[in-house]
């Protein structure tokens, strides 16, 4: 079971990882987009880490809501808003519980994916973070080692979509150029999973 204490530790790891990765994420986002993905993630992760003490031990839902709000308050870019949306969806599902059972992870990631799809009006296969989440939700279903399964799924999805053209956001305008390049949001999700799972 993942407790709020685990969530706090994960938040601190995420912050540390994003301090390191921010430039690389800006760089890749800058190739076809506006180059702010690292800024988004560094700011958001810092804000979540600053608020770990506001996460109540006995309510995973409220703890996740704290994380979501940290993102909405600090970043309004597409990615930050989608992450907040996903966290809110998970928060809603875990409200009042003191943790997340391993075999509930798949359902929560799927819930986040669905809400983010609704919010961003993108479809699966559009080469976005949604494809990472979709792959993860499927891989987590019945996984023995959820962390490993999620990470591998995120990595595989990134590779699987590499050669499709971008269809969403700024990168869409460069659809042709985007073939053969990783989607920045998918890459970021791989790094997020790596950080929060401590792999």
């Amino acid at each position: 079971m993942i407790t709020v204490a685990d969530l706090r530790a994960a938040a601190l790891r995420l912050r540390d990882a994003m301090e390191v990765e921010a430039d690389a994420l800006n760089e890749i986002d800058g190739q076809l987009g506006d180059g702010d993905l690292g800024v988004t993630m560094r700011r958001g992760a810092r804000a979540v880490a600053e608020r770990v003490d506001d996460m109540p031990d006995d309510d995973m839902g409220r703890a996740l809501m704290v994380a979501a709000q940290a993102f909405t308050k600090t970043s309004a870019s597409s990615y930050g808003t989608l992450i907040a949306t996903g966290l809110m969806a998970a928060a809603k599902e875990t409200k009042g519980s003191d943790g997340i059972a391993s075999d509930d992870l798949s359902r929560l990631v799927a819930a986040a994916r669905d809400k983010m799809m609704e919010r961003g009006k993108a479809a699966l296969g559009n080469k976005t973070v949604l494809d990472s989440l979709d792959a993860m939700a499927r891989a987590l279903d019945g996984a023995d080692d959820p962390a490993a399964a999620a990470l591998r799924a995120a990595e595989d999805a990134q590779i699987a979509l590499r050669d499709t053209p971008a269809q969403i956001g700024r990168a869409r305008i460069f659809a042709d150029k985007s073939v053969g390049m990783d989607d920045p949001g998918m890459l970021a999700m791989t790094k997020i999973v790596k950080a929060v799972t401590g792999r």
Partner: protein, 333 residues
């Protein structure tokens, strides 16, 4: 970076402080983090509120157009970045006079998601919201995907017409309908000659050679349809008019307005050189030009370049275009 600023992180907050200090008769900062601007004197009770928002760096868009006959409030993000959900909710609350609020803004991913979330938030305050998205840039997607187009200077017409409709006492549905019709009536295209610098980035958004221009470039430096040697003014104007008229043909007897807009550094002298061709083309089509706008109405800080926005009028839209409005950047009497 040829910019006059202190801390890049404070660029927007200091700009807003100065804006409200200079024009207290028009603007008032609201919200927790003071990232929403509302009219100094709120619209009268029962008037439909109109809210906009988006990234900074486009003055007078968006914030500048808060005022009588225009917007009621506006949420302001960092340069070229969406405001947050909370900031948008602050703006919506400030705009609400009990008759609901129209969200009227440009079609950019982050803005859309955040305005949607802000709508969810203010639902809890019983504020009804509608949405009209500006998607007037013909260079950003073909007609078949017109709903994917980004919003550029066309929003100036939409703000003006929707603002006048709200002032005239139309209800939320009515104002929303006018705004949608204004949005549908506009087509824009831009051409950039040089980049601007986002303060937090500290270097030009894109590189472009000293003798080059880019046709169809977006106001954040989004790529256009071609990049080539700088052409003569008349050739640029002809091509821009070609693109607009191909997308929205104009017939003899049509009444239209046209906005010849500087993206920032391009001086009015050069807008007027372009205007000769704009007028020639519309005259040739047999259209009547109503209240042409020439100047800096929607900018990208110090970017050199221009955009044209063609707006097809009917009696209703023309009436709202000519109705009075007032703000620090635009007065119609």
């Amino acid at each position: 970076m040829k910019k006059i600023l202190n801390d890049p992180e404070k660029y927007v907050d200091e700009m807003l402080d100065g804006l409200c200090a200079a024009h207290p008769q028009f603007y008032r900062l609201v919200g927790d983090d003071k990232r929403a601007v509302a009219r100094a004197t709120p619209g009268k009770s029962g008037k439909v509120g109109i809210v906009s928002g988006g990234g900074s760096g486009h003055l007078p868009v968006f914030t500048g157009y808060v005022g009588p006959g225009l917007l009621d409030a506006c949420a302001i993000g960092d340069v070229f970045n969406s405001p947050t959900t909370d900031q948008m909710a602050d703006a919506i609350r400030a705009a609400d006079q009990g008759a609901g609020v129209l969200r009227l803004y440009g079609n950019y991913g982050g803005d859309v998601m955040n305005f949607d979330m802000a709508g969810d938030l203010v639902e809890m305050d019983d504020i009804t919201c509608t949405t009209v998205l500006l998607a007037d840039d013909v260079a950003s997607a073909p007609p078949a995907e017109a709903e994917k187009r980004r919003g550029v200077a066309g929003m100036v017409y939409a703000f003006k017409m929707a603002g006048a409709a709200a002032e005239a006492g139309l209800d939320l549905d009515g104002v929303t309908r006018v705004a949608q019709r204004a949005a549908d009536a506009c087509r824009s295209v831009g051409a950039a000659l040089s980049s601007c610098t986002v303060p937090q980035a500290g270097k030009p958004t894109f590189d472009i050679a000293e003798d080059e221009m880019e046709m169809g470039m977006g106001i954040h430096g989004e790529p256009g349809v071609w990049r080539d040697k700088l052409r003569p003014a008349d050739a640029i104007a002809e091509e821009m008019m070609d693109r607009l008229l191909a997308d929205m043909p104009v017939d003899a007897g049509d009444r239209v307005s046209i906005l010849v807009n500087s993206l920032g550094a391009t001086p009015p002298e050069e807008l007027y050189i372009l205007y000769r061709i704009v007028k020639k083309r519309l005259d040739a089509a047999g259209a009547e030009i109503v209240m042409p706008l020439v100047g800096r109405y929607a900018t990208s800080m110090e970017m050199a370049g221009v955009s044209f926005t063609l707006c097809k009028l009917d009696d209703e839209l023309e009436g709202f275009l000519k109705a009075p409005c007032d703000c620090a950047f635009w007065t119609v009497t």
